[in-house]
Assembly symmetry: C2
Homo-oligomer: 301 residues x 2
């Protein structure tokens, strides 16, 4: 299959690099990273040990035909990415492996064939041309709009044979919500308190807050016809916080580096969808406001 990985940072480079072992892959990402890959190949360390040579470009000008666009840009860049990808709206299948709610809906407004994806792979950016595969996690792929289980199964097969453990999901909306609820707990709390993921489990003050975040989220999910099991969601939060106890969450990393976070598409998206349906989400709203205030803050000390 012919893949275009659009937004090849840490995650996109891992997927694109692994896929390039058996498929035709073009990465599109930042110039300095792409230049390094063109020069020396893409180095993947950690749980994977590999140097591969996918095509790497700064834009899609040279792409003629392809089967699948894998979108791995930050959620706040989805609309811009879609404009750049307009030539493929009618021609390729679009798979999002992004964080938060709303990416697949934006895709489905433009592209004909959309698949939803959720991945628990852990990967960090080391330096231009190099990423670190910190933890192996499952990836779920399912039809979202204009696609069916067969098309999703083909992708699962393509991913799996390249060493990306993948599963077909008949309920990818549920998976997207589940991951978003986990992120809605771990990301803002670790970002605001500047603690590692595992700290959430060590404070009864925080486990109380986690339950409140989840309870609001479940009410909003129910508005959208999704009835997730509360205990299952909480169990997922605890198990992910434990499995990633020593990790610094993506939101804390973003805040430390003075970068914009994905809070709008995580807690902010829960608040927004709640508001549309008349469900108030004060806890998620406050966390969103605090993180957004932190994005624009300069430290006192």
């Amino acid at each position: 299959m012919r893949f275009l990985i659009f937004g090849a940072g840490a995650l996109g480079s891992l997927f694109g690099g692994l896929l390039s072992q058996r498929h035709e892959v073009m990465l599109v990402g930042r110039r300095v990273h792409m230049e390094a890959i063109r020069r020396n190949g893409l180095k993947i360390g950690g749980r994977t040990n590999l140097v591969v040579h996918p095509t790497a470009q700064e834009d899609i000008a040279e792409v003629e035909s392809l089967d699948v666009v894998v979108l791995t840009v930050k959620a706040y860049d989805t609309e811009g990415a879609l404009e750049a990808l307009k030539p493929f709206w009618r021609k390729a299948a679009f798979l999002s492996l992004q964080n938060g709610l709303g990416n697949e809906d934006l895709l489905a407004e433009r592209a004909d064939r959309v698949l939803g994806g959720v991945t628990n792979q852990g990967v960090t950016f080391v330096a231009p041309g190099e990423v670190y595969h910190a933890g192996i996690g499952d990836t779920y792929i399912g039809p979202y709009r204009g696609t069916g289980l067969e098309e999703a199964a083909e992708l699962v097969e393509a991913f799996s044979m390249c060493g990306i453990p993948s599963e077909l999901s008949e309920d990818i909306r549920g998976e997207l919500w589940l991951k978003t609820l986990v992120n809605a707990c771990i990301n803002p709390l670790t970002g605001l308190l500047e603690v590692k993921n595992g700290h959430i489990l060590q404070s009864t003050f925080l486990t109380d807050v986690v339950r409140e975040i989840v309870d609001e989220g479940l009410q909003v999910a129910a508005l959208q016809g999704l009835h997730l099991d509360r205990e299952e969601v909480l169990e997922k939060v605890w198990s992910i916080a434990e499995a990633t106890a020593d990790n610094i969450s993506s939101m804390l990393q973003d805040l430390e580096k003075g970068r914009r976070t994905e809070i709008d598409s995580i807690n902010g998206a829960i608040v927004e969808r709640g508001r549309e349906g008349g469900v108030s989400c004060p806890i998620n709203s406050l966390l969103t406001n605090l993180v957004k205030a932190l994005e624009e803050a300069s430290p006192a000390i």
Copy 2:
């Protein structure tokens, strides 16, 4: 008059030092600070420039008789202080100049004559024997329980003639709530985000949160029969944040130094009083939980 200042840290030392110019004052505080005062006197710098020599002790063993106990311990130490002060429950008037809600009620459960106080003096601890008077602010004193306007007026007079600008308040409960609501906004937000007080005015995300904190607080105040004007409270928050724009709030100072904060008697007290009256305060509750989690956190980085 004969004053005992119990908990003579920064604020208590300022008040005791100024009062000692014309009154008999005994400071009770931490050993190292008291020893320095016994050795070299109490040095007050900043807006006041003074070296005074009040009596300074580690406990009340040598106190025989006095007129007024001024309580300036942290709110979470009020109960312990009251036990130590048992010999004076029937004999002296008790004035609290502490932060938060509930101190005067604790006093009134034990002592016969209780006055409420609110001060906007700004003072920081420099070193043993030395405090810095950062900003001159008004002090309000009013009868709370077992006391009347005359007794409060005598104290106002005693304070004023020592250079402590003071006013008689006929509604000290309202003043206490007003100051607590201001603290409930400025303290946790600056503490969590690690920003100076003025930053609150620069972020629309935070001004939104301030309104939510105040709205919950006003509902709880109303439960207790206090009807504060919303615009007046908000105006007070903005003006104090502006007047103290470059200050590092006491809560941020406490968190930076790994000390316990007064969150329980500020936002926590609002939540608790709300719960007793069936009013839910999710915003103040979340802020309380986050600050308490931060008190026990060790930084990730």
